[in-house]
Symmetry: C2
């Protein structure tokens, strides 16, 4: 029988699955895209229906550069931008062009678990590096550099997935200096950078350092507009952009998403993307506050977490002896879900952690989910239950 | 200065560059896509804006299966279809998942030159196999199989790029039998299969043989709707579709082009794609006839070609001692262009051949281009000219 799903996620009614790391369905911008499509398809000319320029539609890149200059608070040039069919596809292309099977890549511990899967498909050797409250620890990186020659370090520097930690400004500079000294790329996944809920902006994005020619920044419309568009970008220095634009895939198929770029160009030029970002930041700020408050109410103090300044996630640290993968069975019985910490570990660790996403659900659902999670934890900490399940 | 191109191709005014292997700009379906966008974006629900189902939108795949069943004249099931962001991207993904650096792939001689570039980016070892008027020669394939263990054979079985030759029906069966016996995949690039201009249909597509689990068929909307959409499909048996849908890139980014799939679903369901295909076949048939007639008029009989039954291309074979790469300089002076045969050779051969595309230009331009090509050839065959250029 044919699987007629349109969307990837299949959330059963009544379920509060905090593992869904994606924008809220209620905030998907259908009306906005209707306007953009009417604008772009209403003319007489459609160069965006032909094979697209390899680097991406120049007018779209110009509009995006203007948008990023404002929101990144740095000067972004259209020439630095290469249009990708989503950040994941950009990462996949970078793996094809810059790495070979058996090469080593450094990742943070924890790291975005699906990036790890892409690295596995390219048969790369993954080495995890420790983080603290200020992000990746440069001294730990330097120590590993004496043992390995990585082709790149993959990092989520701002509002980290899953830990929500932000890499401190001075550490960013230290990482760039190390990348130049030891000759490896830093692939900075900055898809959450624009989702800042604090009064003060985060440190400048790693995209500020692309002149080093060792830093490659990934961005995406998935978190600020709609994931189904499959539209993102790679920001890098001229030699890297040239290498990407000149590869066989681009030569054969042309630019990676010309039609969608043309429509999203209208959302940028008409100011609709700016409005949407404001809407999202307001909604997600409220959701984050509500979920943190509910977690404090329903979970004991032995379960630790930091309230994030941006992004999508809350990273829960349960007592050392709690295995969140084991606890998930009880959670699912109580119609609540999360992603166990071990999924984010390249070292098979973090078994007592869990990632919750606060972006997907409305506030009443988030509160109900937190309440259920409290019940789950209480039941799980009951010795009888755990002994029964350990048999 | 920013490159503001939207389209990949930059055709100077007055130039008739037959190397442009793409649909005619005058036939790009802007009005059709305006209707489809109004239809799909006019509702209240937009599941296609979320991360898409990994295999691709189920309703889109069902509509596509119906369309292909009619036009391929075989039973196509939605379950056999995996949605890709263009055939090139599908090919790139197959290289990532099924091949490793150093692996051998077989191609036809000549072969689609940009596929060869994709294989190079994946560091694959390319072996060219001879063709005749009935396509790839099975005996030659079998002989090479005693020397190599290819991961796959890449073939354009119907209306070949660049030679326009079609693989004979019985040879298709022989190739499938060999792929089973020697355990390699056949990746059949069938993007021209639907562009048939003869009274009789071509042999059944290689997609008919996917139950062997060794055959993978690539299809695309680039040649029958618009290349800028970056929408294509992979048709394969269940285990292969499962492997594709389960890879890291899909897990991370969801389906490869959900938004565009949703719009193109409307073109299929509203019958617009069917109408567009009829329009294209009529226009391209007339262009092919006009160009063949003009070539016969302006080129001497020493330049050989066969009138194609479908696709985009005419393959010119000049006398043995003509180097079409060398002749191109004279062609460009006379405002006409083509792709030299050597570009399609993995063996550095076919120096006396050239590919012309008849899809891009209107009839008067095709005729003028043929006239110029006749002048170019005449000038080039002038001994004085060639000696001067040989210095």
């Amino acid at each position: 029988m044919t699987d007629l799903r349109i969307a990837q996620l299949n959330m059963p009614p009544g379920m509060v699955d905090f593992s869904a790391g994606q924008p809220s369905p209620s905030l998907l911008p259908l009306a906005l895209l209707r306007k953009a499509a009417a604008d772009r398809l209403g003319g007489n000319d459609a160069p965006f229906l032909a094979y697209g320029a390899e680097q991406g539609d120049g007018y779209f890149r110009s509009a995006l550069a203007g948008f990023l200059s404002e929101h990144y608070r740095i000067a972004v040039e259209a020439d630095q931008l290469f249009v990708a069919a989503g950040a994941s596809m950009g990462l996949d292309l970078l793996c094809t062009l810059f790495a070979s099977a058996g090469d080593t890549v450094f990742v943070e511990e924890p790291s975005y678990f699906l990036a790890l899967r892409i690295f596995n498909d390219h048969h790369l050797n993954i080495v995890g590096l420790p983080m603290d409250a200020d992000g990746l620890i440069p001294e730990a990186l330097e120590e590993e550099l004496t043992r390995h020659r990585p082709v790149f370090l993959y990092s989520v520097p701002t509002f980290h997935n899953p830990s929500s930690v932000t890499l401190a400004a001075e550490r960013r500079q230290e990482l760039v200096a190390l990348s130049r000294e030891y000759d490896f790329f830093i692939i900075a996944d900055e898809v959450y950078h624009l989702l800042n809920y604090a009064g003060v902006p985060p440190p400048p994005p790693m995209a500020s350092y692309i002149d080093s020619n060792t830093v490659i920044s990934l961005g995406s419309f998935s978190k600020i507009l709609a994931p189904g568009l499959r539209l993102g970008w790679i920001q890098a220095g001229a030699p890297l952009v040239k290498r990407l634009s000149g590869c066989g895939l681009l030569d054969s198929g042309g630019g990676l998403n010309p039609f969608t770029s043309a429509l999203v160009r209208s959302t940028l030029e008409m100011g609709l993307q700016h409005t949407q970002l404001t809407t999202l930041k307001t909604a997600y700020t409220q959701r984050k506050i509500a979920l943190c408050k509910a977690l404090k109410r329903y979970l004991p103090e032995t379960v630790r977490f930091s309230e994030p300044d941006g992004g999508f996630f809350i990273w829960l640290v349960f007592p050392e002896d709690v295995d969140t993968k084991q606890m998930l069975a009880e959670a699912q019985r109580q119609n609540v879900g999360y992603l166990p910490g071990v999924r984010f570990s390249s070292l098979g660790r973090l078994k007592n952690c869990a990632r919750l996403c606060f972006a997907y659900f409305d506030i009443p659902e988030l509160e109900e989910g937190a309440r259920r999670l409290g019940e789950v934890f209480k039941a799980f900490m009951n010795d009888d239950y755990r002994m029964k399940n350990d048999e």
